[in-house]
């Protein structure tokens, strides 16, 4: 069992991390490189590609569209996720496994199937493609993620706290606002951030369901065809990565705070 020894595993872990980070490290390298050709050796340092982004109208439109789609998706999928997570964590009801299974299905369904199915339905109903059809698809695939995050928040919720609140004369709404919500709020915010991040980067569904208004990934896809545009795409990607990582750190910190508040093990909850 030499290959399971600490030393070999550590070496392996380091090599694996290099593999994982290889493309990620190249992104900022080429974003700050003066040459328009994406290849080594690097020719010099520049920030012109980032400055260029500031003056690209089409990019701003795409960014605006992605914001609309991302924010709407985050709110809707977190709302739908909260209902489902609460129901499955708190109540026993007939058909639960089947219903929850169907809701979680998009997690294992190839995205192209979801996209194509929605496209066929919209065409049959004669509904035009727009940002809202993209939102419709994104909510579908983001809700399972929201449920996974919120389930751990609800499972840690002590039922007796709510019962105590009722016994002390608090109304249903008052209990929700003053007991339940504060306890699950970090989970809710974490879910909003994660679903927003997923929507921001989602391409396949947006590619099939977008009309004339493109989202950011669809815009990036169109730019990949033009070699001269590549450095600015690298700059854009670098910014997107920075934003995503910041959002994730925030989401993770909140999730842990919520878990710690409820005394749940922080390393495993939500995975």
């Amino acid at each position: 069992m030499k290959w399971l020894s600490v030393r070999w595993l550590t070496v392996y872990a380091v090599v694996y991390m290099i593999f994982l980070y290889a493309p990620v490290i190249l992104l900022p390298l080429f974003a700050f490189n003066t040459s328009t050709i994406i290849a080594f050796p690097l020719s010099g340092f520049t920030t012109e590609w980032f400055v260029g982004l500031w003056y690209t109208e089409t990019l701003h439109t795409a960014l605006g569209n992605s914001m609309i789609v991302g924010l709407t998706t985050a709110v809707l999928s977190t709302l739908l996720g909260a209902f489902a997570a609460r129901a499955s964590a708190r109540f026993v009801f007939p058909g639960k496994t089947g219903i929850v299974g169907l809701i979680m299905l998009p997690l294992v369904l190839p995205e192209i199937i979801v996209a194509v199915a929605l496209l066929v339905m919209l065409n049959q109903l004669g509904m035009p493609l727009s940002l809202w059809t993209v939102v419709g698809g994104h909510v579908l695939i983001c809700t399972p993620f929201s449920i996974a995050i919120l389930s751990s928040a609800y499972r840690g919720l002590d039922r007796e706290l709510e019962e105590a609140s009722f016994d002390l004369g608090e109304s249903r709404w008052g209990t929700f606002r003053r007991v339940t919500l504060p306890l699950v709020l970090p989970g809710v915010i974490s879910s909003l951030l994660i679903t927003f991040t997923i929507s921001l980067d989602e391409f396949i569904i947006a590619f099939f369901l977008t009309g004339t208004d493109v989202t950011l990934p669809v815009y990036i896809w169109s730019q990949l065809r033009f070699p001269a545009k590549l450095p600015s795409v690298m700059a854009l990607g670098t910014l997107l990565l920075a934003v995503s990582v910041l959002l994730l750190i925030a989401a993770e910190a909140l999730r842990r705070r919520s878990a710690a508040r409820q005394g749940v093990d922080t390393t495993l909850a939500g995975v």
Binding site: A22, L26, A39, V116, M121, F208, W221, L241, V271
Partner: protein, 288 residues
Amino acid sequence: MAWRFDREAVQGLRLISPTFAYVLVMLAAPLLMVITFSFWTQDYLTIDMTPTLDNYREAWTKPIYQVLMWRSLKISLIVTAVTVILAFPIAYFLSFHVQKRKALWLFLITVPFWTSYLLRVFLWKVILGYNGVFNTTLMGLGFIEEPLTFILYNLNAVVITLAHAWAPFAILPIFVALEKIDRSLLEAATDLGDSPMRRFFRITLPLAMPGIVASTLIVLIPTVGDFITPRLVGGTDGLMISNMIQIQFGKANNAPLGAALAVSAMVVIGLISAAIFFGGKKLGGRVR
């Protein structure tokens, strides 16, 4: 008690109903529609609603679709095997050898996943290309004289890129399964004289099996549906069935045939997934 259960059931159902309704309208209905659609035919813009098996006949007998279907299956299975086998030692390392910074390691593993997917695929092209980072590094170090050409625009590139894209999804379920293993079982085995090898194959591996099966399915199913990676780094020999589905819905303007291809791919992958799921259940889960 019965009354209490009834009230609880009603409350639970009422609470989950908005989400359930959404999924019925936006997932179940479209899936049923795509299945129905696959039995229809299309002539330019008009849809003929007479039920027919023609699309399926074409999807299953025409050489081009057969080739693509087989290749997709092959690529997806290879990708899954490579990804899960590469992921296992990392998950094992995290679970058994990292003491304090587990959360940090998990976070670091997921960060690359949040780089725009399109750009990650594109950057693999930059790494693996003829004048790419990989070739220039190897030549610079004097390992090779000529750039390697077998790494881009073929199956290898697709496998590498997808193994990279799905890494966190493969690592996490295995890690969770390994974390759940009661360490006293391993101590007991050592005390009773089991060698590390025996201990690994008779305790750790069977108990990690649910995680391995989960990560296998999480990687296998979506990779069949990917068309970006094959399109960007696959070359002509790396194109997969999803590329054809996309073409049928786009340029070829034959949505019913595209639907039939999509349904066929889904059925095939569903059957394979079921086989893996039940096979895994048989293999693992308890200590022998």
